[in-house]
């Protein structure tokens, strides 16, 4: 009795395997189109900082966190410092239609940063800077919230972006 080297596969199961593989390729394609065709990307390494001095070093943008105008009405950079249990600044005003890049870092534990109803949602890791861009096309108030457990008052850690028409 010698063992055969080929695997016996039922006809139905073989078709199922092929269909599964095709399905997964389709999902991968959809994801790739969104990422590389439509610019919906995940965060990339921005820079590394020393969390012990990032809030106090005068050369650090997070010693004076807040909004920086790059092109009036069109392009802004926002530096946000996350700490237990607040964001600095906790309120930001932006004109509608502007493209805003967020640079967020933490001076203590890990935090999260998620702007509701946008694709900005990332982990805030001490020593690293998290960066994503969003274009606010609609006027209104957008909450940003901490999505990582960061201690006793984690649930209260939030801020808002006021987008004016």
């Amino acid at each position: 009795m010698s063992a055969q080297e080929k695997m016996h596969v039922d006809r139905y199961e073989r078709n199922w395997m092929v269909a599964s593989a095709i399905l997964l390729v389709l999902f991968a394609t959809a994801v790739s189109i969104a990422a590389f065709g439509m610019g919906i990307q995940v965060p990339a390494p921005e820079q590394r900082v020393d969390p012990r001095t990032v809030a106090s070093d005068p050369n650090s943008p997070w010693s004076n966190p807040g909004i920086r105008e790059v092109v009036a009405g069109e392009k802004y950079d926002v530096y946000i410092l996350a700490k237990t249990w607040q964001y600095l600044p906790a309120e930001i005003s932006i004109p509608a239609g502007a493209s805003v890049t967020f640079y967020v870092t933490s001076m203590d534990v890990q935090h999260g940063f998620k702007i509701q109803d946008t694709n900005v949602n990332f982990q805030v890791v001490p020593g690293q800077v998290s960066k994503l861009t969003v274009k606010f096309t609609k006027a209104g108030t957008y909450n940003f919230i901490c999505t990582e457990y960061c201690g006793a008052a984690h649930a209260a850690m939030a801020g808002k972006i006021v987008v004016s028409p």
Binding site: D10, Y12, L23, A34, G39, I40, Q41, V120, V134, K135
Partner: protein, 44 residues
């Protein structure tokens, strides 16, 4: 020989039916989340 197995008489058609429903559900639910992603716009 592979051809002479007893499962040649058993056709798992009920299994295929269940899995087709599963795949349709998967595509619909996954697709709806994907559409939320697209609706929220670019990040770079």
């Amino acid at each position: 020989m592979a051809k002479k197995n007893s499962n040649d008489e058993f056709r798992p058609q009920g299994t295929v039916a269940i899995l087709v429903i599963f795949v349709i559900t998967l595509v619909v639910l996954w697709g709806s989340i994907y559409l939320i992603l697209l609706g929220r716009g670019g990040t770079v």
